[in-house]
């Protein structure tokens, strides 16, 4: 399937804007999840700015599609998208993790308009998404549920409980997206707890599996569209990504899982994101 060049350009631009916003939310000297937020930025931009049914004027619109970040530490990406869509004022981007702020360190549905659940304690979001998918199906809704899971997060046993339960309940309104950036908090997955054949694991559990380059918008859109056509089973999109994508000093490095940038690095990150934005706008 080929996608309109204008759409692809628009998504590229929005993904660059998301990275600009992510950097804005990690001021120098303050720790922030740059790596895992930027690895999933392109997929998330495709979801919010094109693929999903969203309604900023009514964040609880029953007809909306749902997106749950089971890897809640990448919340900055969700915040950036919600901000660009107008769910809350831009001023809050500078107030992440502040007392009485709208943007918590991890996603909190009670604080942030557009956030669908409470996540952050890893492993739980896929089960929550399964519950949403079951509830929506029960209500005869055609809304879909998307859930971003980290590849390191697959070390949590509950992911595999949900991986077993979702196909058993034949939920085809559920689409999991695994952000395979190959690096977790302290080191590479290879060095922490190596596990092989991610697509094969999900397939064995009964999921429809699509493997993509998670930074290629044509592949992202095609996978999301394909997932919509799958009946009688859930879909998982294995998105091969780069941790810290767009910020070469951080790319592929566990050190930037949740790091504070120096003044120089922050300026560098701002410049890189701005260049991405200008490049996309050409």
């Amino acid at each position: 399937m080929s996608y309109d060049a204008k759409l692809l350009k628009y998504l590229k631009k929005m993904a660059a804007q998301v990275r600009v916003d992510i950097v804005e939310m990690i001021p120098p000297g303050k720790a922030g999840h740059l790596g895992g937020s930027s690895s999933i930025a392109d997929v998330t931009a495709a979801l919010y700015f094109h693929h999903m049914k969203v309604n900023k004027d009514d964040p609880k619109d029953p007809n909306r599609d749902r997106l749950v970040f089971s890897k809640g530490h990448a919340a900055l990406t969700q915040y950036a998208c919600l901000c660009e869509l107008g769910y809350f004022d831009r001023k809050w981007l500078k107030e992440v993790k502040t007392l009485h702020g709208v943007l918590q360190g991890h996603p909190d549905m009670d604080k942030t308009p557009g956030i669908e659940a409470v996540t952050g304690s890893l492993g739980q979001g896929l089960s929550v998404s399964l519950g949403m998918a079951l509830g929506l199906r029960l209500d005869g809704s055609d809304s879909r549920v998307y859930c971003v899971v980290g590849d390191g997060e697959m070390e949590e046993g509950q992911i595999w409980e949900a991986a077993m339960a979702a196909p058993a309940h034949k939920v085809d309104n559920l689409c999991a997206i695994v952000d395979c950036n190959k690096v977790q908090a302290t080191d590479t997955i290879e060095n922490v707890l190596p596990f092989a054949n991610v697509p094969g694991k999900w397939a064995a559990f009964g999921w429809h599996v699509i493997e993509i380059d998670g930074h290629n918008f044509e592949e992202i859109l095609a996978a999301l569209d394909e997932a919509k056509t799958v009946k009688g089973q859930p879909t998982v999109i294995i998105a091969n990504t780069i941790k810290g994508k767009g910020f070469p000093f951080a790319e592929g490095k566990a050190a930037y899982h949740n790091a504070a940038m120096s003044e120089e690095q922050f300026a560098e990150a701002q410049r890189l994101a701005q260049e991405m934005l200008e490049e996309a706008d050409k």
Binding site: D108, Q124, L134, L138, G157, E161, A162
Partner: protein
Amino acid sequence: MEKSNMRKAYGQALLDLGKENEKIVALEADLGKSTMSNMFGGEFPNRYFQMGIAEADMASTAAGLALTGHIAYMSTFAVFATGRPYDQIRSSICIPRLNVKICGSSAGLSDFGDGKTHQSVDDIAIMRVLPNMKVFSPADANETEVITKAMADIPGPCYIRVNRNDVPLVTEKGAAYDGKVKCMKDGSDVVIFATGYMVWRALEAAKKLEAEGVSARVVNVSTIKPLDAEGVLAFAKGMKAALTVEEASVIGGLGSAVAETLIAGPAESRIPLVRQGMMDTFGTSSKEYEQLLEEYGLGIDDIAAKAKEALALA
């Protein structure tokens, strides 16, 4: 003495709720026959979710169902309903105050044969400490029905623990739920705060005490959180001593809840208190329920003796 079963009452109440409200859904972890939520499943298969032996997934899935506007009742044995998915209850359910109603079945020592892995001594304590969680421990089948149905109207997370075995009825059928502690028998020397099946046993102990010239007041505490502190203080007022009796660890359980209330009350409420329950111990297997309760000092004679022990402190 009419006996009845709390599990059956739970199953029937859940079924009744299902008939009244299509938003009620139920989740099960391969123990539906024991928890009797299978009664609901038989009538409403579309709203009954078999999650397999995967309690963590069940708890978070219940949260997801609540997030789409459903009232999710999840049931399994008390140990597996609380300790095993503790963080899921904490993070997925309690932080966002979701409408998930957790039924801890075969609670306390009531699963006498299965032993310590299956006997919940810590469920009250660990559910009670969770912000936004409400904790219920009905005294009998009638109260189980009342509370199970009331939970559907009480917003947010709820935990109810029910006994596995047939136990005597001590409350009226169809009472309105008001969350208050209830005086089951009045007395003037010592007040016994009891919960669950221990309410009947405290009443029996009070009869024995009466024969020995000790007047005991017995109070049923079926809503452990939020605790009716006003009621606890009122029923303790004028008493020489107090005793708590529960089929659970006194650490963090009813004993703690009552102690915290009495110590924080006016000076006159600081009466000697003895807490009887599981004394920082796990359970064990037994051929009979009664025998097991006696092993841990929850025999009727034990309760009477503890009441006298409390009075001796006065």
